[in-house]
Amino acid sequence: MPDWLAYVNDRLGHLAISQAESSQVREELAAHLEDNYLSLRAQGISESDAVRLACDQVSSWQELRRDILAAKLEAFMQNRVSQLWIPGLVTLFGSAALLAVFEIVGLRPLVIHPGNPSSLVFYFPWLLSLPLFGALGAYLSLRARATGLAVHCASAFPALIMAAALFAVLLVALVLDRHGSLRIVTTAFAAAILNWFLLPGFFLLLGDWLLHFAMRRHAAPN
């Protein structure tokens, strides 16, 4: 009997999906060809004809690879939405809405060096609420069967968005204000990164860590 897995590997080529998924696809296609071949042999068809008929199952391996990748990519896009974007946006809008509420009710942040480009802003009530949102983002992502980095990104999503926005502002500032003081711009940027990326990111990921810790405790025997 032919080595159907080797046959599939020779013809299918590289699949731009994870190694594990690619191996499963190859094994499944090889199993199908093997079953087809064995069924033909059981009907009394000669070995060479059974091999030929089984191989006729695929007229174009290139087309099959394209179709499989399209199907798998559809899954990847769906997973990204449910595992990252939706949990991340819930975390972002939830934490932003709470910050707006704190502003409306008059809770003021602690500002060190006010009026200075390097002023530090500590929004303690908001920062202390962030572990809840971080845990919520991680929970929603895990519920959508996400693993690893996607869960942490969903949890720290608001901080990541702020970092991206700050980098964009920095670039614009550097381009538009070429004659301005580079030191002032970079100092203000460093302060903003601390205020809106590092500190919120830390508290959001603390929620992510606490959720994982609670889940491990819950899953552990006794």
């Binding site: 499963q24 696809v25 094994e27 499944e28 296609l29 199993a31 199908h32 060809l33 093997e34 079953d35 087809n36 069924s39 006729d56 199952q57 695929v58 007229s59 174009s60 087309e63 099959l64 179709d67 499989i68 399209a70 199907a71 798998k72 559809e74 899954a75 769906q78």
Partner: protein
């Protein structure tokens, strides 16, 4: 376009229908469809798997690896509740199509 959609619709209904009765692996699915349709419908490997993966993405079916008594590993597909829910509307669509074709092209059931 219509031809492709029509073929995909046929395949989806056929696959869901055979999986409604029992869990099957890919080759058994194609064999069962060919057998039940008297050979009128047949799915090659190239047509079957991209479609099965799409149906799996949509949560209609789920494939799990199983090892048979002979030691062969096969990925067996099981119909999920979401797939079961799709059966009734798909069947209704096909019944409508047959009725329409009967009126327009005088196509009759065998």
């Amino acid at each position: 376009m219509i031809r492709t959609e029509l073929k995909r619709g046929t395949a989806e209904l056929a696959i869901l229908s055979v999986l409604e009765r029992q869990t099957l692996h890919g080759y058994e699915i194609s064999r069962r469809i060919a057998q039940d349709s008297g050979g009128a419908l047949s799915f090659t490997l190239a047509a079957l798997y991209p479609l099965l993966y799409r149906m799996e993405n949509r949560g209609w079916v789920r494939g799990d690896w199983e090892t048979s008594e002979t030691g062969r590993r096969r990925r067996c597909y099981k119909l999920l509740p979401r797939g079961r829910k799709m059966l009734a509307p798909l069947r209704a669509e096909w019944a409508d199509l047959f009725r329409a074709m009967r009126r327009v092209a005088k196509v009759n059931h065998a």
